[in-house]
Each structure stands twice: as structure tokens, then as C-alpha cells.
């Protein structure tokens, strides 16, 4: 028991050490002016606009992934059709593809479509890159639901679509929350594509903003830190509200 106490104490010490940088972030963000620093970055620098950009891109990405992922996962799990296995395997290969492997053609594609500095220029590739993971988690969920639900619904005269929407979809709610959180984090935090594609200043998402703030504020670290805290706030608030779901959602893909 004594060694258990000691281990707990050591873990507590590590946690304190781990939290020091974040404590510093908040402390410095309030230096010379307190909450005025926050007001300043929102008012003068239009951080609100960038938060809105990120919110729009993230929200559409999450909706796209959940909608397209659910319909496809249902079909891959419950329906028989030509090319079922081949198409599933094709999308699964996406689990291992690093963004670096597609950055050059993706940039050409965005230019060809005229999608640079547009919302769809980010949420379409974000959704495409998140779909493989979503499909694996959602398909596993549909596989665990009995086929008889569909047969019963069809016998009752309900179409396949109604069986999917009315019977199956509500039963997958926990998996939808997990996939939703995972997609939300990935798209809110994404940097490389946003840096590459969001050229026009007023279309920037929050991850691209600190670089330009640094240029403008130069050594006004408190204001830069206030901006960093605001960028981080939505994520931390959500995490505070549903830590267990975050943990399960983020570690779900790992063990299997």
C-alpha cells in the first residue's frame, strides 16, 4: 500500500509539472491589462471572424462525415451489392495515408476548382480524410446490430431507407458522438491544409492566425497568448463537459 501512495504522489508531481505550461499560458494572457487583452484581440484583430471561419468549416465537416459515413456504413454492413468488399477496402486504405502523400495534387485540384480561400476548399478534403476512420467505427456498430431489424422492417412494408433512418440510426447514437468528437478535433486543430489553402486573410481559420498576430503584435506576448486561449477555449470547454467520451473517441481507433 505504501508504494501505491508513493506512486500516486509521484504521478501528482508529474501532473503539476505537466500543467505548468498551461498555467503560464493563462497567467501571461492576463498580464498588463487583464481581460482587456482578450477584448483587444477580439475587437481590433477580428479574432471573432477567424473563430467563425473555423466553426463553419468544422461544423460542415462533422455533419458531412456523420451523414455520408452513416449511410455508407449501414450499406456496407447490411446490404449486398456488387463491389461491396472492394469499395470498403479502398476507403479503408485511407486510414494510413498521410496528408503529405496528397498535398501536391490536392493543391492543384483546389486551384483548378477555384476553391482556394473558400469554406468548401477545406471541409471537402477534411471530410474525405476523416471518412475512413468514421466508416470503421460506424460499420463495427452496424455489424453489432441484428440484420433481423431490417428484414422485419421490410416485411412490415417499410423501405430500406426508412429502416435505416427510423430503426438503425438512433441505435448508433453513442458511436456518432464518438466519431463526431474525433472529427471535430481533427478539423478544428488542422493546420497544414489551412495554411496552404486559406490564402485570403479574412478566410483564415484559427490555426493559421497566430502567425499573422505574431507579426502585428511582435513582442506583445500577453495579447498573443490571449488569442491562443480563445482559440483553445471551445476544445477545452467541450473536453471539460465530456471527458470520458473524448477519451473513448480518441483511443477508439487504437485498439483493434
Amino acid at each position: 500500500m505504501r508504494s501505491g501512495r508513493l506512486a500516486l504522489l509521484l504521478a501528482a508531481a508529474v501532473t503539476v509539472l505537466w500543467m505548468l505550461p498551461l498555467a503560464q499560458l493563462v497567467t501571461v494572457s492576463l498580464r498588463d491589462g487583464g481581460l482587456d487583452n482578450y477584448a483587444a484581440v477580439l475587437r481590433q484583430q477580428g479574432l471573432g471572424r477567424y473563430l467563425l471561419n473555423s466553426a463553419v468549416v468544422t461544423a460542415v465537416t462533422v455533419v458531412l462525415v456523420l451523414a455520408l459515413g452513416s449511410v455508407a456504413a449501414f450499406a456496407f454492413s447490411k446490404l449486398r451489392f456488387p463491389g461491396r468488399t472492394a469499395l470498403y477496402v479502398l476507403v479503408l486504405t485511407g486510414l494510413m495515408i498521410p496528408v503529405a502523400a496528397i498535398l501536391v495534387p490536392l493543391t492543384e485540384l483546389e486551384t483548378a476548382l477555384g476553391w482556394q480561400s473558400t469554406y468548401q476548399g477545406l471541409f471537402m478534403p477534411y471530410a474525405a480524410l476523416s471518412l475512413p476512420f468514421a466508416l470503421v467505427i460506424l460499420r463495427n456498430t452496424y455489424d453489432s446490430l441484428p440484420d433481423e431489424l431490417l428484414e422485419a422492417a421490410v416485411v412490415d412494408g417499410a423501405g430500406t431507407w426508412r429502416a435505416f433512418v427510423r430503426v438503425y440510426l438512433p441505435l448508433t447514437a453513442p458511436a456518432l458522438v464518438m466519431v463526431g468528437i474525433w472529427t471535430f478535433l481533427n478539423s478544428w486543430n488542422e493546420f497544414l491544409l489551412a495554411l496552404m489553402f486559406m490564402v485570403s486573410p479574412d478566410m483564415r481559420t484559427v490555426t493559421v492566425v497566430p502567425a499573422s498576430f505574431q507579426l502585428e503584435f511582435f513582442v506583445d506576448v500577453p495579447k498573443i497568448f490571449a488569442a491562443l486561449v480563445l482559440i483553445q477555449l471551445p476544445v477545452v470547454v467541450l473536453y471539460g463537459l465530456m471527458q470520458r467520451t473524448f477519451e473513448r473517441g480518441l483511443t477508439a481507433g487504437a485498439i483493434k
Partner: protein, 303 residues
């Protein structure tokens, strides 16, 4: 329960209709994935054999020129050396720390739960934000790290952490460890909760010390967690970009360059053929890791 004949006919007919329908259901997801991921992968492979638009607007076929550049340029050799180094400096450290913390925080109690929540917090943070935060903490003249060292009389240890080629990469690796240790802890946590308490008690009754229990009982049972973290760590290392870009920009003098930071600057310079070759190299490395992983799955299935 067998359906009566008319009902059966209905199911069979519905089954036939479902056959055509299935494709419609998966089409939107497959199309989106095809256009924005699958096609770019193929196109990238092709581009890596073509000229660089800035130098050669006709984009003629140049064979292996871009790959020769990849092998012969100092920046690119450093990038691939660094990715190995980065993996070695981060993956085992995150795993070991995460395991120790998971063991220490095993069990119930509000205190333990709070510590676990706080340790997992960095995992959800935005890498770019973490990068700017640590860049400031590690700044040479006014950064908190050096200020603290000077304040407690350890002036000799104050160091230009990110500006010195010798420390840039290890320091970025340390920040990566700060971010991802909580993730390893959570994975091990899940594995440990799955462990049978009786096994642990029996070992304790046999007089095994806590260390021996960890070493001989817990560790082998954690093998799937080790493996998952190793694979995720290696793939994550191959993708390393955000932290490096913000903390050092790949410098000083390419000391912390990674394939993706180099790809980014190469592409911005209009050398798209070379950038594509870098992308292809990263893709092939990720493919090798995946094939090794699949082989292991198949082996385990046979057992």
C-alpha cells in the same frame, strides 16, 4: 421463424432492390474519398516523375530525377534522418511514461480521476497553439525556462533551446512527449482495467514486489496496447509537421527538418515534382508500416 410464402417473396424482391440500392448508399462517401484522397494519391505518384513547374513549365517526364534529388540533397537526407531520430526520441518515452502513469493512477477515486483528466488534456489541444506556447517558454533571452534556470542560479544550463542545431530536434521531441503521454496513459489504462484483479493479487501474495508485478505480470498482458501505440507513434512521426513548423520551421539549418516541412517549402518554391517525390517517399514508408501491421494481424489470426 420462416416467413410464409408471400412474405418470403416480398423479402426476396426487397433483397433484389437492395442490391442496386447499396451502391447508391455508399456512392457519396466513396466519391468524396475518391476525388479528395484516392485520386490525389495516384496523381502524386505520377507527378513525382515529372519536371518542376517553376523550372520546366512543360512538365516533361524526368524519370527518377526527383528521387535522385531526394537522395542527394542535404536537406532531404536530414529530413529522413530526423524522422527516425524523432521517432526514437518520442515513441518509447511516451509509452514508458504513459505506462508508469497508468499503473500509478490505477483504480478509483476522485483524485486519480482528476489527475488522469489533466494528463489527457494536452492530447485534445491544438498542436499549433502548443507550438506557440512552448516557443515562447523556450525563448532564449526572456523565455520562462531560461529565466527560471537563471533565477535559481543555474545560469550555465540556460540555453538557446530552439536556435541551437544540437538541441532543436530533441526539444521539439520533448514537446511532442508532453502532448502525447496522456494518450499512451489512456490506452494503457484501458488495457489495465481489462486485467484480472485476481492475477495481480495472486502475484502479490506470492511475494512479488510491485516492480516485479509490473515487469512479469502486467507488461506481457499489455502487448496489444504496446503494439497499437508503436504503430500509431510511427505513423504520427511520419506525419510530423505542426509542432516542428511552429517551433523551429525545420531549422536552424535543417537541423529539425522533417519530410513534411521540407515538402511544404519545396512546394511553395514551385518545385512540385520534388515535393511530390517527397510525398511518395512518405507514402511508401507509411505503406511499409501498414503491411507489417497487417502481416502481424494475419499471423495472430492463424494462431
Amino acid at each position: 421463424m420462416r416467413p410464409s410464402p408471400p412474405e418470403r417473396a416480398a423479402v426476396v424482391e426487397a433483397g433484389w432492390r437492395r442490391g442496386a440500392k447499396g451502391l447508391l448508399y455508399v456512392a457519396p462517401a466513396v466519391l468524396l474519398f475518391g476525388v479528395f484522397v484516392a485520386w490525389p494519391v495516384a496523381k502524386n505518384l505520377q507527378t513525382s516523375f515529372l519536371g518542376n513547374s517553376e523550372l520546366d513549365p512543360t512538365l516533361s517526364f524526368v524519370g527518377l530525377d526527383n528521387f535522385r534529388w531526394l537522395l542527394e540533397t542535404r536537406a532531404s537526407r536530414l529530413a529522413f534522418r530526423n524522422v527516425v531520430l524523432f521517432g526514437v526520441l518520442t515513441v518509447p518515452v511516451q509509452m514508458a511514461l504513459g505506462l508508469l502513469l497508468a499503473v500509478a493512477l490505477r483504480g478509483r477515486g476522485a483524485g486519480r480521476a482528476l489527475l488522469r483528466t489533466l494528463l489527457f488534456l494536452p492530447v485534445v489541444l491544438t498542436p499549433v497553439v502548443v507550438g506557440y506556447l512552448f516557443a515562447d517558454l523556450l525563448e532564449t533571452t526572456n523565455g520562462s525556462v531560461n529565466s527560471t534556470l537563471r533565477a535559481i542560479g543555474l545560469d550555465a544550463l540556460a540555453h538557446p533551446w530552439l536556435a541551437d542545431p544540437a538541441t532543436a530536434l530533441p526539444v521539439v521531441a520533448a514537446v511532442n512527449v508532453w502532448m502525447w503521454t496522456g494518450f499512451s496513459m489512456a490506452i494503457y489504462q484501458a488495457a489495465i482495467t481489462g486485467l484480472d484483479d485476481e492475477v495481480l493479487e495472486a502475484a502479490a501474495l506470492d511475494g512479488a514486489s510491485r516492480w516485479q508485478v509490473v515487469r512479469y505480470v502486467v507488461a506481457p498482458l499489455l502487448r496489444p496496447a504496446h503494439y497499437a501505440l508503436l504503430i500509431l507513434g510511427v505513423i504520427g512521426t511520419l506525419k510530423a509537421f505542426d509542432l516542428v513548423y511552429v517551433l523551429t520551421g525545420g531549422g536552424p539549418d535543417h537541423a529539425s527538418e522533417t519530410p513534411t516541412t521540407l515538402l511544404f517549402s519545396t512546394l511553395l518554391n514551385g518545385r512540385d515534382g520534388r515535393a511530390a517525390a517527397l510525398g511518395t517517399a512518405v507514402f511508401v514508408l507509411a505503406l511499409i508500416v501498414t503491411v507489417l501491421q497487417l502481416r502481424r494481424y494475419l499471423k495472430e489470426d492463424r494462431r
